[in-house]
């Protein structure tokens, strides 16, 4: 049975057994060793490339920010002047508005005071007239009582009323 080479059914059977064994051992090596290590290597490659691209992005962003700040620093005096001018303008506008409002209020108060004065004047005139009528009536009655007859007294009262007229009473 020992031999170096032979072409028969034994060779085919042994070859088939070897094919199965070899495929099995390659599969075991793939699952145990190659697959996890390759996965790890691929993950590492991806992580490094991600880190690098992220670093490049951050650098770009930092440079952009730096340029922006440098520009801002260069323009800062101009910006300050602008702010002061703006504030001054705002204050002036506010001042004008306040003055206008105060003037309006004063006008309103003046108008109201004038109306009050006119009303008081009318009231005072009315009171004075009432007083005059009262006093005149009193004096006349006293005078007539002492010196005139009943008939003359009536005649005088009628004349006085006629002289005063309707318009006098209304003022």
């Amino acid at each position: 049975m020992p031999r170096i080479i032979g072409f028969d059914a034994q060779l085919l059977a042994q070859t088939a057994l070897h094919i199965i064994s070899v495929l099995l051992v390659i599969y075991i090596l793939y699952r145990l060793l190659f697959n996890p290590i390759r996965k790890l290597l691929a993950e590492r490659t991806e992580r490094i490339s991600n880190d690098l691209s992220e670093a490049a992005n951050q650098k770009e962003a930092a440079l952009k920010l730096r340029t922006e700040y440098e520009e801002k620093l260069a323009n800062i005096n101009q910006e300050a002047d602008e702010i002061i001018r703006e504030a001054h303008k705002k204050a002036l506008n506010k001042e004008k508005a306040t003055i206008a409002k105060a003037k309006e209020e004063a006008d309103r108060l003046l108008t109201r005071a004038q109306l009050d004065i006119e009303r008081e004047q009318l009231k005072a005139k009315d009171d004075i007239k009432k007083e005059i009528v009262g006093i005149a009536t009193l004096m006349a009655s006293k005078f007539v009582e002492s010196s005139m007859s009943e008939r003359v007294r009536h005649q005088l009262l009628d004349e006085s009323i006629k002289e005063m007229g309707d318009t006098t009473w209304l003022h």
């Binding site: 170096i4 042994q14 070897h18 390659i26 145990l32 190659f34 790890l40």
Partner: protein
């Protein structure tokens, strides 16, 4: 001197007497060592958890895996990177088989030599034919998958149809040439070493080391490399 592939035991398989040969047992020993090494490496790496920044053993394993992947990519192209684990495993297996001639092995028969070295499994045509047939089926299978049955069959009639038999013979010759190249080289080395160890004792001082370096290490590594590279070339060219 006996360079035969001895039968260790026989197994009755549905009435067929299958010989479990010396090279088969040796190849199972090598497979066992490979699987054991993979399990140990996996356990050690898992205990420390695979690190983002590798150290020690992880470095070595990563370097080997990456080297085998790069070997595949350089031969088959970037788009066939996924063949890396398959050919990596095949390369390591063939390499260990070829180098096993350096190790003392189990004694199946009384040997005339002073030292009983392991008989490399690749010095058996059944082993090399198995590897070559895997390549052959892969070549045809991936060829059909990539081109379709019609184009694959049409490829056999090129450049003109009368040459079809030659093309078929050419395809069938590939596994034969692959398997016999590896088988012949390793068997040749084994026979030469066996013959040399039968010389008188004074010839065995120092010189066998140099012979082992040439026949086992140099020829072994080279043949493993050639076999895997040719297999890759066949498969990738069948897919183009």
């Amino acid at each position: 001197m006996d360079f035969s592939n001895h039968v260790v035991t026989t197994v009755n398989l549905f009435g067929f007497e299958l010989w479990i040969t010396e090279s088969m047992v040796n190849s199972w020993i090598i497979m066992g060592i490979l699987v054991l090494a993979a399990v140990i490496i996996r356990i050690i790496l898992q205990r420390r958890t695979l690190q983002a920044v590798p150290t020690g053993l992880q470095n070595v394993v990563e370097t080997i895996v990456e080297m085998l992947d790069n070997f595949t990519v350089s031969t088959m192209g970037e788009k066939h990177r996924n063949f890396g684990p398959f050919y990596g495993g095949m390369f390591i297996y063939i390499l260990l088989c070829n180098l096993s001639g350096l190790l003392p092995g189990p004694k199946y028969v009384e040997s005339a030599g002073y030292i009983q070295f392991m008989r490399p499994p690749t010095a058996d045509v059944a082993v090399t034919l198995a590897l070559a047939l895997i390549t052959f089926f892969m070549t045809q299978g991936y060829g059909i998958k990539a081109k379709g049955v019609k184009n694959w069959a049409k490829g056999l009639t090129e450049p003109m149809w009368p040459l079809t038999p030659l093309n078929v013979i050419g395809e069938l010759a590939n596994p034969v040439s692959l398997s016999f190249r590896l088988f012949g080289n390793i068997l040749g080395g084994t026979i030469i070493m066996g013959l040399y160890y039968n010389l008188p004792w004074f010839a065995l001082v120092g010189i066998p080391a140099a012979l082992h370096i040439y026949f086992d290490i140099f020829a072994g590594v080279l043949q493993a490399f050639i076999f895997v590279m040719l297999s890759m070339t066949f498969v990738s060219s069948a897919m183009e």
